[in-house]
Amino acid sequence: MTTTSDRKTAAVVCDFLDAQRETIVAQWAESPFFRSVAQDPDQAVGDSTEILRGLRKAVAAGDSDSPAAEGFSDLRSLLTALAAQLDGNEGVSARTAVEVSELKDPLLRLWLESEQDGELVVPGALLLSGAVDTLRLVLVESALAAAKETLAIQRDQLTELSTPVIKLWDGVLAIPLIGTLDSMRSQVATESLLQSIMTHQAKVAILDITGVPTVDTMVAQHLLKTAMAARLMGAECVISGIRPQIANTMVQLGIDLGEVATRARLADALAYALNRLGLQIESQPGAV
């Protein structure tokens, strides 16, 4: 709730910020926070000017306690960029938060030195301190948002990277499955394989599990479902890359792949696929 005295305090604090801008910016630019996020002193001065302007706007609007305030939302893109730079180094740590808190020191010292009207000293100091605290909150929020975005991008990239469908021959596709298959990754793999079967009109699709460390009932179930779906579309699935150790595990678990053809190596699966297409490989005498 904004009362008359609060508004008066805000007005006085704004005047103070305007009057002392140069000094505050100079001292902020020297602080550990701006030195750690800015590449050079000029940029540190620029960044601190920008942040002081946003802070003043929020104080003037009387909502310096809310991270959603207009002044702070102006700063958000700058803070996101700063947070991203921090990310590159060592991430937003408790240390960074402490460094932002240290921005209070020059502000409060100058405030006390400016010899304000007696009854305004304490509320003004509280206001300034609260505004810097909110600034810290906004910085952490921006950093978290940036980190979240990075995570989402990387997850998408991982999903894309993990499912390349390779055309081995006319009518023969292979999908090398790599790493632990969770339900989302296996679903993406299945979808991209079936889509490629349709695009390339492939009659045989090879699911290569050489890169899958363990095969449990879930993974086996997924492989079976993929094979079934491919058959419904009119293609045939071959599972290759079953190492002795994995075959052993599958037998111990009682996993039955039914009628789906299995081969130990990708090469064997390709030979099987070519055979299904009625193709033969011959060795030519005299060739290297």
Binding site: T190, E191, L194, Q195, I197, M198, Q201, A202, K203, K225, M228, A229, A230, R231, L232, M233, G234, A235, E236, E259, R276, L277, G278
Partner: protein, 125 residues
Amino acid sequence: MPSVPIVNLNGVLLVTIQEELLDQSVSEFESELTEKVVDTRARGVLIDVSVLDIIDSFLARTLHDIAAITSLMAARTVVVGMRPAVAITLVELGLTLPGLLTALSVEEGLALLAPPPGPARTALR
């Protein structure tokens, strides 16, 4: 009531399902098709489902039934062009349609039904 056109291509009945069918239309289509098989003494039936976004369990069962019925009349049924999403959904529903022949395209389906049946055939067991 939408009807499904049935084209006789030299002993193979080509059926293209052009839109989603109500259960009743599916039943009518089934009886019409089986009668036509007898009338034309067709050696094969090709059902193209490539435009369908959805195949429900009833249509899936009917396709399976048609295959079983026509095989009693010495005609083989091939379902062609099923979409990836449809195939996944049917498998998730547990409708793997064992015994139904499938092909990727009408061309390959026709090759499958050629007078001396080709060696490359995809059978669901």
